[in-house]
């Protein structure tokens, strides 16, 4: 089966265990390590990436759930070359990361949130953004999400 990961064509062998979570496929077989392992049970969001543009927690998303031609996007694939994605840009402006380990998942979740709610209120962020950050960067994530919404609306 052929899929794409960040636009690159990747084949998934017949022999590959279909139960393997997409997280481990991406990290160990596609060698993209930006997507992180935190809990393995869909609780923390560190492993969040996109399948056909929708955020999924890849530790709990088996490879067998993919279909021919599916497009997987990881944190390594969201910038436009030199130009950061608006969410990355906003994260940079607010100096969000501490350890940074959760932040790929935070940004991938935020991109999906902004797709659904281009101009989210604090309440919408509270209800929809529940990735764990053990370092406690929530205040800055909230501000950065609002900032990214502005950037994406062209309000640079």
């Amino acid at each position: 089966m052929q899929i794409t990961v960040n636009g690159r064509s990747i084949s998934i062998n017949e022999g590959l265990d279909g139960e393997m979570p997409l997280l481990w496929f991406v990290r160990d077989f596609v060698q993209l390590t930006g997507t992180k392992f935190g809990c393995g049970i869909g609780q923390c969001g560190a492993c969040t990436l996109h399948v056909n543009g929708d955020a999924v927690r890849s530790c709990s998303y088996p490879v067998s759930a993919l279909s021919e031609g599916d497009a997987v996007t990881t944190i390594e694939g969201i910038a436009d070359g030199e130009k950061l994605h608006p969410v990355q840009q906003a994260w940079k402006e607010f100096d969000v990361p501490q350890c940074g380990y959760c932040q790929a998942g935070q940004m991938m979740a935020a991109i999906d949130l902004l797709k659904q709610y281009p101009n989210p209120t604090d309440e919408i962020i509270d209800q929809n953004h529940d990735n764990l950050c053990r370092c406690g960067t929530y205040d800055r994530i909230r501000k950065a999400i609002h900032r990214a919404a502005d950037l994406m609306a062209g309000k640079g």
């Binding site: 022999g15 265990d17 139960e19 393997m20 979570p21 481990w24 990290r27 160990d28 077989f29 993209l32 390590t33 930006g34 997507t35 992180k36 392992f37 935190g38 809990c39 393995g40 049970i41 609780q43 923390c44 560190a46 990881t74 944190i75 390594e76 910038a79 950061l84 990355q88 994260w91 940079k92 100096d95 990361p97 501490q98 350890c99 940074g100 380990y101 959760c102 932040q103 790929a104 940004m107 962020i125 509270d126 209800q127 953004h129 529940d130 990735n131 764990l132 950050c133 053990r134 370092c135 406690g136 960067t137 929530y138 205040d139 800055r140 994530i141 909230r142």
Partner: protein
């Protein structure tokens, strides 16, 4: 299944001597007294190039295009030291921050005449909020020396006397002309190493891993006045941030070695237990599985202490295959000696321990019993808190390769030189043949000060003669953590008619210690703190502010109760208690602690006054469902005071933290954004601890499994506003990582009391606020 003595080798006595637990379990490196000799590398050094291994100065590389690479010497576990430390170096080196790149300084130690390893230039460990504090003088010195080396070469090359040269942001300036540092590097490297004083001095503080500092003659030792700072104290941007945001930063779990196998280990869940026998036929039959082998607990030759938990490892060609096959193992456990230990037993046993004879006085002044007997009003209450887990966002992991040539390992570690020494001592590999691959740490909080996760990977690689990458599951990470100890504290206190405290008696029962020896303890005439030990055998370790983390909850919580008993405002009560400006003798540890340290009532009053002013403190919040509380605590050299505002749902008892106002005196702030981040982090971790942490035990093992059992604070419950002020900028810089949490928890408890009338004396808060 313990590693036999033949498999281990000497040296551990020395190492046990350099990593000890103090107070409440703070992992503090303490050195035996030393006879110091110059490191052998300096004997050979002929030129600056030789002295600094090819570089122009310690942790400094200046490229031909005048770009400067600064190497951060202390692992960053979210603490921001990969920014703060290079900033210190950049300031004294006088380079343009826009031209700076940041890399990581590898573990660096040299042997002295006795063969003992001494860290070179700077202390490299992360703990005790000590990074900025300890590196501050050392890195300034490195910056000054490197600048001096460049200027000396410039003087010769330009034919201008040294004292007619100055520098400006990476340029040597003379007679109105500017020359990039890069112009002088080749010459500077070839200068006689004698330019840098060969007298290596050791920082022989008993609480630090010994460090050699380089030195120069006093004439050249002039640090910049603070008014001239161009980098320190500024919110300059992180040169590494974009790498991280692109998902390209390296964490421990991202290290891979060619030809590696992946391992997933089923460890004995029972405290003090072992593997009795196991069957692995089914596991071995799974595609990708290469081997299944026992992992013994490694011990030092002269001790029974087990560094890691024994278990059975599945080795496979992918992590997933190893993990999946592990579920098929059939293991019979020796359940060990603690099967009677469960959570309820731990609390009962702690209370039983109140009556033990061998209580230890941590503080005793005046006559407590007399003071209580004569008091106008007395209060006798009990506080308690459960075991806290570290729950670093990145679970433990390590990749290691052991060959005849030595050992290469990649893992996030808080003490790189300590980790290397550990591997050397236990596995008999010379320190110089061990390479640590540096990286960022997905949190540490004290967990990555331990060696258990390193021991397993090194043992497995040595055994199977291939690189092995061990990844822990979250369940492994919680079950085999080294916890912050649970404790029960009996508080008895009395107030006199004049509204002052007549006496206070604290009996602290726990397997671990506490750090209550600062304020208010030092201010109370009849004051006693005793420690009695319960019989729990849960594994303990350093956890964010060891001994301090709950000292605030207990001492400041009870102080708020006494204020109420005395009918006084808790803020005014504290200011009055602190009294006139003075220093009181302090017995606790903090980084760079002098011989006879004191703590300042003036500085504690200053943070309280600042927070009261900022929050417009007028006592509690009388509005229904609203509450406001105050507390402060002194941790590892820094003062924190907090006012917390909450809204409590009056039916279901759930609450929201509306605002946290914090005033911090950590001395000079090196990187404001980073320092604020650490305070934000401590507040949110405090909230997580107070609401969610509650590690459960049954039958001598941990039964809490994953983030569904211990959910932790997320966006929806995180404080709406956090308002931080730094005061006390004139003082020397201290750390910030562990400062906020101990003050936040009691301020939160006070706010909840103000809103509901329910005193939170027991953590987690649980449903104590729910109306029955």
């Amino acid at each position: 299944m313990h590693m036999t003595k033949a498999q281990t080798r000497g040296g551990i006595t020395r190492r046990s001597a350099i990593r000890v637990f103090i107070g409440g379990g703070a992992l503090i490196a303490a050195a035996p007294s030393l006879t110091l000799a110059a490191p052998s590398s300096s004997d050979r050094a002929m030129t600056i190039r030789d002295l600094f291994g090819g570089d122009i100065g310690p942790m400094v590389i200046i490229h031909q295009d005048n770009i400067v690479t600064l190497e951060a010497p202390i692992p960053d576990m979210g603490t921001g030291v990969e920014m703060a430390l290079p900033m210190i170096l950049a300031e004294e080196l006088d380079v343009d921050w826009q031209q700076v790149k940041i890399e990581r300084f590898k573990a660096n130690s040299v042997p002295n005449a006795e063969g003992q390893r001494i860290q070179n230039y700077v202390h490299q460990g992360s703990g005790g909020s000590a990074s900025v504090r300890t590196a501050w003088p050392q890195l300034r010195k490195c910056g000054v020396i490197t600048r001096r080396i460049i200027l000396t070469a410039a003087a010769v090359k330009l034919g201008v006397p040294y004292d007619q040269l100055s520098t400006d942001k990476g340029f040597v300036v003379t007679g109105g002309k500017r020359f990039p540092y890069a112009d002088f590097i080749d010459d500077a490297l070839m200068q006689d190493a004698g330019l840098v004083k060969q007298k290596f001095t050791a920082v022989d503080n008993p609480h630090e891993v010994p460090t050699y500092e380089i030195d120069i003659d006093g004439d050249f030792w002039a640090v910049k006045p603070r008014q001239e700072y161009a980098v320190i104290g500024k919110d300059v941007a992180s040169p590494r941030l974009e790498t991280l945001l692109r998902g390209e930063e390296t964490f421990g779990i991202d290290h891979n070695l060619p030809g590696q196998l992946y391992a997933s280990i089923e460890r004995c869940p029972y405290i003090g237990g072992d593997v009795k026998s196991f069957r692995a036929e089914e596991a071995k039959a799974l595609a990708g599985v290469v081997d299944v082998i026992a992992v013994p607990a490694v011990t030092a030759p002269d001790s029974d202490y087990e560094f890691n938990t024994p278990g059975v490892a599945v080795l496979a060609t992918s992590y997933w295959a190893a993990y999946k096959a592990r579920q098929l193992l059939k293991i019979e456990w020796d359940k060990g000696p603690q099967t009677h230990e469960n959570t309820a037993w731990q609390y009962e046993n702690s209370i039983t321990a109140f009556d033990q004879d061998d209580k230890r006085d941590l503080h005793n002044s005046g006559d407590v019993e007399k003071g209580l007997a004569s008091a106008d009003k007395v209060l006798d209450v009990q506080y308690q808190a459960p075991h806290f887990a570290h729950l670093t966002i990145e679970p433990m992991n390590c990749v290691a390769s052991v060959t005849d040539d030595g050992c290469v390992f990649g893992a996030g570690v808080q003490y790189p030189n300590g980790a290397i020494q550990f591997i050397s001592d236990i596995f008999g590999i010379p320190v110089d043949n061990i390479t640590h691959l540096t990286c960022k740490l997905g949190c540490g909080f004290g967990r990555r000060a331990r060696d258990d996760y390193l021991a397993e990977a090194v043992y497995l690689s040595k055994t199977v003669k291939r690189p092995v990458k061990v990844i822990w599951t979250r369940e492994d990470d919680i079950q085999h953590d080294f916890f912050n100890p649970m404790s029960v504290t009996r508080m008895r206190g009395g107030v006199d008619k004049d509204g002052t405290i007549s006496a206070w008696d604290c009996l602290f029962s726990s397997q671990g210690g506490t750090n209550m020896q600062s304020f208010p303890t030092l201010l109370i005439p009849n004051m006693r703190i005793r420690h009695t030990r319960n019989a729990s055998k849960a594994k303990l370790g350093a956890w964010r502010g060891p001994g301090h983390n709950l000292a605030g909850f207990y001492a400041e919580g009870f102080l708020n109760e006494l204020a109420e008993l005395a009918g006084r405002d808790p803020y005014e009560f504290r200011i009055a208690l602190l009294g006139g400006d003075r220093g009181l003798p302090y017995t606790g540890w903090y980084p760079q602690r002098p011989e006879n340290p004191t703590i300042s009532t003036k500085r504690n009053k200053a943070v309280l006054k600042a927070v009261a002013e900022k929050a417009n403190w007028k006592g509690g919040n009388p509005a229904p469902g609203k509450g406001r509380g105050i507390a402060s605590h002194y941790t590892f050299g820094a003062f924190a005071a907090m006012v917390v505002d909450v809204t409590v749902d009056q039916t279901d008892g759930t609450f929201q933290v509306d605002r946290v106002t914090a005033a911090i005196d950590c001395g000079l702030v090196v990187h404001p954004s980073g320092a604020r981040a650490q305070i934000e982090s401590g507040i949110i971790d405090g909230l997580s601890a107070a609401v969610h942490q509650n590690i459960q035990f049954d039958e001598g093992r941990v039964t809490t499994r994953n983030f569904d059992d211990v959910y932790l604070t997320r966006m929806d419950t995180s404080p709406r506003h956090i308002d931080i002020s730094f005061v006390g900028e004139d003082a020397e810089p201290f750390g910030t990582g562990e400062i906020a949490l101990p003050a936040f928890i009691p301020a939160l408890a006070a706010a909840l009391y103000d809103a509901t009338g329910v005193r939170i004396r027991k953590l987690p808060i649980g449903d104590q606020l729910k109306k029955t």
